[in-house]
Symmetry: C2
Subunit: 323 residues, 2 copies
């Protein structure tokens, strides 16, 4: 029986991973720069070294990885990952099997799907049979656990909660659609709202100074602090975020009648600033009974959700291969 696996979260900046026991314990944890800006070959070189380092002294044959992009998990191919690896139809599993040995069982999955599995396995929704994970980061990702299993859809592309339409004539999303949840509840969305607000020269807000020359990932923190300091414009931005999230969650509840909605990602650090509006909006819109039974709560695992989820998928896949 497999007793240890590796779970890895592949990001644009860092590779983060851990050696994980079959009970979900983190035995060893590592993090290195992914150097994604130097191209895919460099990332693969780093990834292979990273895996060797984590598994040093251990006999680990099962590795799971979460990747931000469109993933064909069946074939182990990255269909598209524009923000991280800038590759199309890249056969990650085959490449890694060549480098690490063909006996290594490699499972790849979309990172938000991995995070959903992680929160369901070891985190906020351990005891439920169905849940939706929403990760609010640079974009908005998602994952669906239905009947105790990750629902990845006909081609592994399901769970794109960030790209359900909230406002049909709303802000343009980088996916090409208008008014996606991602266009209202991500760091990118918050940057847009700040920029549009500041165009009104008469608007009085501390963000006018504090958001100068700031990276998109850091904007939510600044708007959170400004709202905490009573900045009205910033408070309004969080209301917008909460409202869009509530509209989306109501649709998800009516459609899927899940037991729980778990919200993670860096933007969700502003929880207290948006969650009341989210509840208010969702209650206004969802059917009473399924709304009442659905718990909406923060992820518990933070950055470990993806690592643990990937580890669980690797464990599960090893069981399926060796029954």
């Amino acid at each position: 029986m497999v007793d240890k696996v590796i779970g890895i979260d592949i990001g644009g900046t860092n590779l983060r991973g851990a050696l994980v026991s079959r009970e979900g314990g983190i035995l060893k944890r590592m993090e290195i720069s992914s150097q994604a800006d130097q191209g895919i070959d460099k990332v693969i070189e780093n990834l292979a070294g990273f895996i060797k380092d984590i598994s040093e002294g251990e006999n680990v044959c099962n590795i799971g990885m979460g990747i931000p992009g469109i993933i064909n998990s069946k074939d182990g191919v990255i269909t598209q990952a524009p923000n991280i690896l800038n590759v199309d139809d890249y056969p990650l599993r085959a490449v890694l099997n060549e480098k690490l040995g063909s006996d290594i069982n490699i499972v790849i999955e979309n990172d938000a799907n991995s995070a959903a599995v992680g929160e369901w396995w070891m985190g906020a929704s351990k005891d439920v049979n169905s849940m939706i994970m929403i990760t609010m980061g640079t974009g908005v990702g998602g994952g669906l656990i239905l009947d105790g299993k990750l629902w990845t859809g006909a081609d592994g592309m399901a769970g794109e909660i960030g790209h359900i339409t909230i406002y049909p004539d709303g802000a343009k999303c980088k996916c090409g659609n208008y008014g996606c949840l991602e266009s209202y509840a991500s760091a990118t969305a918050i940057r847009r709202m700040v920029r549009e607000g500041l165009e009104d020269k008469s608007l009085n807000t501390i963000l006018r100074e504090s958001t100068k020359n700031i990276e998109v990932e850091d904007i939510p923190q600044i708007v959170m602090e400004a709202a905490g300091a009573g900045d009205g414009f910033s408070l309004g931005i969080w209301e917008e975020v909460g409202k869009a999230l509530g509209i989306g969650i109501a649709s998800l509840i009516n459609l899927l009648n899940i037991e729980m909605v778990v919200i993670g990602g860096g933007v969700s650090n502003a929880w207290d600033l948006f969650i009341d509006k989210t509840y208010e909006e969702a209650r206004r819109r969802a059917f009473r009974a399924p709304m009442k039974r659905t718990k909406i709560q923060r992820g518990l695992l933070r950055d470990d959700a993806g690592i643990l989820g990937s580890a669980h998928l690797a464990l599960k896949s090893s069981n399926e291969k060796k029954p």
Copy 2:
């Protein structure tokens, strides 16, 4: 092995049902008035007689029923069915078991869920593993087949596709929400659009005469005929219907990556008048790959979808009980 079951579609006007073989063949078909206006006791009396008539000369122990409302299928209880039976928490299975004998295995399900199962078992989506059924009638219902199984959610309330929000500030829906799909793609929605349009006294449309004193169920047919005759206002209504449907389907495709969307119900008879707009809108909004692979097509079984779906659920439940 069970070789024959009964499938019944309970409607506000009629009870429709059939004796169905395990291969999905309709062996005998019946229809009577439900007399729902005379109260639940009368409906139950009619239903019990109806079942006896269909099963005459046969030894049928498994019956499935589709009911328009919120159904707790596990307990066999109608939670709410305001449009048909006007009952709350009505223990239909227990009542029928008392009347028909406790050895009769009775399965109850929401009617749109039954229709989804029917189209998946014997109709438009026979060969797929995942599909969404959308029924456009007086309201808009829905059912989800995921991984070859009906997804009914944590409390049997999933599949309310008619109540995902399309336009957050749109028309009020009878569920209490604003801008639901049902408020734009049902017979009720079409009646509203006609009424609102006619308020403009200068509007030139043949609907001004032809929709006088017409029941809501008959409105779509009249607007369809008017559009067919080139009435511009009527053509515009079908564009609105098609657009709302396209926005909703795009969200469903991004979220669930299903293989097929099947559209049924009386309003879908106007298919040629709205489907181009639906495709146009969905293509604008959904991710390219899952959009391309998703077939959007009309239901094949029409009124038999619910009967066959209920029959299938009864068959399946009999297998689970006697393995």
